[in-house]
Symmetry: C2
Subunit: 540 residues, 2 copies
């Protein structure tokens, strides 16, 4: 199968139209039915699949970097009576379990990052639902700051997933309904089991939408709301920086970028991820080529390809190379810079690191060469890994080092920093490391004593210990590992985001495996066919 392309550009969009007009941008959903991600189904009625969502993710990213003047993005549709009918059911019916799960994870991330753009970057969002807004369509609306529904006696917002398809609205919908929009839970229960949805005044009274507006007043009302949302934004942004193509070299054996490489060993079901540090001290902090942006964009792309195109790779070793001082200099230059662009870069790094935490593969960070470079923002890769192996070398060249990047900005989805999550309940230990790390490199043995390294071993033992650990990991059940890692990685407080990826997604994964949805007589399988689904009635 061809590799999945996560890079795109507005000039290539097939399913969205991006228009920027001063401080307001519009993203018009105009899904081309004839260009699905894979052959076998048509994207009718503004239903979406991975290719549609890749464009959406690209558009949001570009608004952040390339259009800092925009303060509100308005989502609309080019159809007359439909805003969006949600994820394409036939696509879901044709997909493997692992594709469905990864598709939902990616669409969830896109929506969480839309909320992040509003919360952190002064880019508000308004969903202008001038027509039917079903399933994933309404989940997009829930991720926006405000939603307006047309009041035409017909258009409704709805979650038909449970009644029609025997699955959940799995892109955050259930969680956002009660936890974000605070819809009363008994009303949410009625809403989620009413296939035709809720329209008009009731949709507003129940808190499902901010407002309902007639067709005649639509354009003015949407323009006024967008303007009001834009006026509320106070975050300084810019300067504008265009995001160039990454153009990796993709082969059967490796994904190769400028700073990132993922080398693949299909027989062993392992991969080796290497991230290079910057070539020198930071020079131009308004360049898309600045290491902090380029390297993390590459890492993001590699992680997405790993998820979708390498399903059998269960464990990834993570190494870094370069000069620690350069990484730290880049981290500090970014943290000191007062431009919106610099903050945008840090926010992107934060999102990429979250994508890493949320990737269902085992990650073992490895520091075993003299030019190993787990410092600052790259140290986060070791702190986020399931384990960290460090070689004890005679001249203590193998070491870790902290920077401003480890001091709290790079929160995980729990809201804790990776250092605080690692030392959950022992904040003094985290503080000790920051204090020690600021003094200079911390060699392997000391790093183990301080709790940074899981294992530090000298060169008599190191290679064997690591090799056996990787082989053992690769031999374990991938399902059990996914559940185990999801429980151990997200220690501490739960947030809307972790509830979506933990509770909601875990239930959805279970439901996707059940005969009642995806079996021969399941509702998802039979959707659109005359045959009625047959359910197994045991409640579990």
């Amino acid at each position: 199968m061809d590799p999945t392309q996560f890079e795109t550009h507005p000039s290539k969009y097939k399913h969205w139209k991006l228009a920027v007009n001063g401080e307001i941008a519009t993203l018009t959903m105009a899904v081309d039915a004839d260009h699905p991600h894979r052959p076998g189904y048509e994207l009718k009625l503004n239903s979406y699949d991975l290719s549609v969502d890749i464009e959406l993710a690209d558009a949001i990213q570009r608004l952040r970097f390339e259009h800092p003047e925009v303060r509100c993005v308005v989502f609309g549709a080019d159809l007359d009576k439909v805003f969006c009918s949600g994820a394409n059911i036939y696509m879901l019916g044709l997909s493997t379990h692992s594709f469905k799960v990864n598709f939902c994870k990616f669409t969830n991330e896109t929506r969480i990052y839309l909320e992040d753009a509003s919360g952190s970057s002064g880019l508000a969002s308004l969903c202008a639902c001038k027509g039917t807004t079903a399933g994933g369509g309404y989940e997009l609306a829930l991720a926006c700051d405000e939603t307006v529904l047309v009041d035409d006696g017909n258009s409704a917002v709805s979650f038909p997933e449970t009644p029609l398809l025997a699955v959940l609205p799995g892109t955050g919908g259930l969680t956002r309904l009660v936890d974000k929009r605070k819809v009363r839970r008994d009303r949410a229960d009625v809403f989620c089991t009413t296939a035709e949805g809720i329209k008009g005044k009731r949709a507003k009274d129940w808190g499902l939408v901010e407002d309902v507006v007639s067709r005649s007043k639509w354009d003015d009302a949407i323009a006024a709301r967008a303007k009001a949302l834009a006026a509320k934004q106070t975050v300084t942004r810019g300067p504008a920086v265009q995001l160039p193509e990454l153009s990796p070299k993709i082969t059967e054996k490796a994904f190769t970028y400028r700073y990132v490489e993922l080398a693949i060993d299909r027989a062993a079901r392992t991969a080796a991820l290497t991230v290079k540090g910057p070539d020198g001290a930071p020079s131009d902090l308004t360049s898309a080529d600045t290491w902090s942006l380029r390297a993390f964009r590459e890492l993001d792309d590699a992680l997405l390809r790993l998820r979708f195109d390498l399903p059998e790779i269960g464990i990834v070793t993570v190494r870094t190379t370069g000069d620690r001082a350069h990484v730290i200099a880049h981290d500090e230059a970014l943290a000191k810079a007062t431009t919106g662009f610099a903050r945008e870069v840090r926010l992107l790094q934060r999102r990429v690191l979250k994508r890493y935490d949320n990737t269902a593969r085992s990650f073992y960070a490895v520091a075993d060469t003299a030019d190993s470079c787990f410092a600052g923002s790259l140290l986060e890769l070791a702190l986020g890994a399931d384990r960290f192996y460090m070689l004890i070398d005679g001249d203590e060249k193998v070491a870790v080092q902290t920077s401003v990047a480890n001091q709290g900005f790079f929160t995980t989805s729990t809201g804790l920093s990776r250092l605080d999550a690692r030392f959950y309940g022992a904040p003094a230990d985290a503080a000790k490391i920051l204090a020690r790390g600021a003094e200079g490199p911390v060699p392997s043995e000391e790093a183990e004593q301080l709790g940074i390294a899981t294992v530090a071993a000298d060169d008599i033992d190191f290679e064997d210990e690591l090799r056996i650990a990787v082989e053992e990991r690769a031999s374990l059940s991938p399902d059990a590992l996914t559940g185990m890692e999801a429980s151990l990685r997200f220690v501490g407080p739960e947030t809307l985001e972790t509830k979506i990826f933990g509770r909601l997604s875990a239930w959805q994964n279970w439901i996707f495996t059940r005969a009642n949805s995806t079996g021969e007589h399941g509702a998802l399988t039979l959707y659109g066919q005359p045959e009625r689904p047959q359910f197994q009635w045991k409640r579990t």
Copy 2:
């Protein structure tokens, strides 16, 4: 199949020995291999099944009510080299998916209620692991206040589930490891993938146990720790009240208790739960027959039978009958009483209501008769239900009423009261209802306006509307409903408890459906056989 018996008594225990000696009780695990819950496997090496856990739940309950002098319970075993080897694998391999899930839920509740006994009732717990402590055995230890492991060069604590069985330690283990005991997550990762476990000094250094003690010093060390734990307890308890048998009448058509009835319609896959209020004002608040205790114990027993013995009953209507003033009088008498027994009764009510929230069936509360009695503690059943239907009657006899029981003591597992969860984000609405409810009965129409009733309808529409709603619910996929209700019911903050039932259990349910654990060549299926499991390697 014979109905499951959740009632037992220490005189009937087959698997535990309860001994009380002043302020210390010992619960000795002495599992009788020849008395499994169902035929087909032997309970060797202190492995456990549902029958073992039913006795454990009973013992903890009786310590709370019948032995208020006890301030610390010490868990031990009667085997020389094994404390507990966890849930019986052959039992799991032979069980249906729904039994496995319900078994795990029950064992999770038992362990959470053990923590509740420590947190709320001054009954501390010490796990004295004088031998191998594997899987569910270590999960019992994690639920105790302290764990001591024997240091004999051999005995380890371990979670072999992932490496040996391709499932999770599903009885709260993963969550408690990092969230409660705050074991560093990379160490937790090593621990959970090391089948042989961790022993001796390392177990202590990693925070897996409080202490390791040699065999020669064992008895003295355990006695001293138990004494120290007992000395810390300051909660007033007692007087002792013996818990009599409930002796319900169980038929194919109904479970009938003194105050509770569950009438079963197998053809419609529905059941009707009715809870009667007290016969009069409270008289003897030291009697096990006091309504607040008796009725809620009966409800608890009925809920457990529903879960295990009626898997195909998907939706339950919940009605109450009686005199609202009597319920309120009982609630207030309990809240005012200063005895430990009165507090114990309220804590039991709280646990039973949590069991109700956590039961994977749709609950529709219904108030449609003049003697409907959703007041105070019984109103919690309506607030906890997925929906609440109220009949608008001409003379406003159908009404709800609040009491002290709705003011915050009956927290759900999120830590919110049911009223606060219902009005999440709108505390003023919850306060308004408490103020209004204190003035007297709130009739249906007003209850709907205030947000208590989901639907209030007059008698022209009521019966049809309710009938259709119940039929529709019964027609939906039971799996999707379970996932949906689990997302909508637990709005708001997450706690250790909700993390266990949401994140961890949802993942475990998923893993239990996967071929890698329960398929023909799955690890759980093949456990104990010479054949090696064969895994499907796709990571999801």
